[in-house]
Symmetry: C2
Subunit: 193 residues, 2 copies
DNA sequence: ACATCCCTAGAACGAACGCTCTATTCACTA
DNA sequence: TAGTGAATAGAGCGTTCGTTCTAGGGATGT
């Protein structure tokens, strides 16, 4: 058994699209580039995604959604204290960002911003992703005893601050924004205890 | 004297570029579209910006930098209490976003993310903008008596949380993320008093 | 009147874009 | 063995991309 998993053609196309859109966004990513990197042909791309580039972008956003949800779920299950778990999440994001040479930020933000208000399908998929991530944080806070309204608001700010800090970290090529965000979010959460 | 200010050709080009990149990013904005919306010709664009699209993007980011710095400076001067000022800033951003039909988010984020790690000139301009904005918040906090290290970290999180919340507000077409961010940032600042 | 210089105007270039189309290969069932 | 449909392959469509280039307009100074 090899260490590198084998994926089918469809899966390879989605993964290549997700990675390319993560790094350079929707408009800058061409279908030829996708098919090249996925080791598929243009024919295959249109076979699996007859809706063209938009359908592919929606699928890539769903992939990024699941990807980050998994990271979030892992750290929230692993660490009991919610404040510590969020700080750990910030650390994980910073590490991933640095290890990718500051290239792999949030997999959906760039595409979401490019398409907001102009490509409804993509906007809906991005909105759903943020909602899913907030729900994970919300549940964790509820299970830790926080009241409903507090958990609701904190879930928003946790996700949004992590998003903003990751963006800032990427642009300044520094882990500091995420490290600071982790500490501040932990402090904010603890202030509601 | 008319209410609509007259701008020179160069200024019109920069403003059109800034607005288009704010709404759809760098790659999706063509020079033909820019020259059309700026009521200039392609020749004029290349006359004023011989460096082509990249130079134009850098100038547009600098424009967005000054634009948001002005908004920030205004509210920080108008409101004495720093926590209240930041909350007011979040309100202003939410209002602007809603009034534009959720189209005009942060003028530089999309372009910054598209270009991070791939177009050094643009990345540098974006990094400089974030630095300028943080400096405004940092100074306000220092003048309000916060110690250096606290002000430094808070400046990071204030800007990053506002960025993340504005992005989220844009995608979900709701003022809630910014309203919540304003309240949480005020609470975080007050927790250091 | 003429020269100078800044700016405007838009045709044209090669490359890349999203997408369509036809042909072919392959695994599997009747 | 013939038949069927999914999957692959890539040429080519019209369009737009960023960029270059040459020519003309218009105010100014002499």
């Amino acid at each position: 058994m090899s260490t590198t998993q084998e994926y089918g053609t469809r899966e390879r196309i989605v993964r290549a699209t997700s990675r390319l859109m993560q790094q350079q966004g929707f408009a800058a990513t061409g279908l030829k580039q996708i098919s090249r990197e996925a080791q598929a042909t243009l024919g295959s791309v249109y076979h699996f995604f007859p809706g063209g580039k938009t359908e592919l972008a929606v699928e890539a956003i769903r992939h990024g959604d699941r990807e980050f949800a998994e990271l979030l779920r892992d750290v929230l299950e692993r660490v009991d204290d919610p404040a510590a778990a969020i700080a750990g999440c910030a650390r994980d994001l910073a590490a991933g960002l640095r290890e990718s040479g500051w290239l792999d930020g949030c997999p959906i933000t760039t595409t979401a911003l490019e398409s907001a208000g102009r490509v409804p399908d993509i906007q809906r998929a991005a909105e759903q992703a943020f909602q899913n991530w907030r729900a994970l944080v919300h549940d964790k806070l509820r299970r830790s005893g926080f009241p409903e309204d507090v958990a609701h608001d904190l879930a928003h700010t946790v996700i949004n601050t992590l998003e903003g800090a990751e963006m800032s970290a990427q642009v300044s090529q520094s882990e500091a924004p995420l490290e600071i965000a982790g500490r501040h979010l932990a402090r904010l959460i603890d202030s509601y205890r």
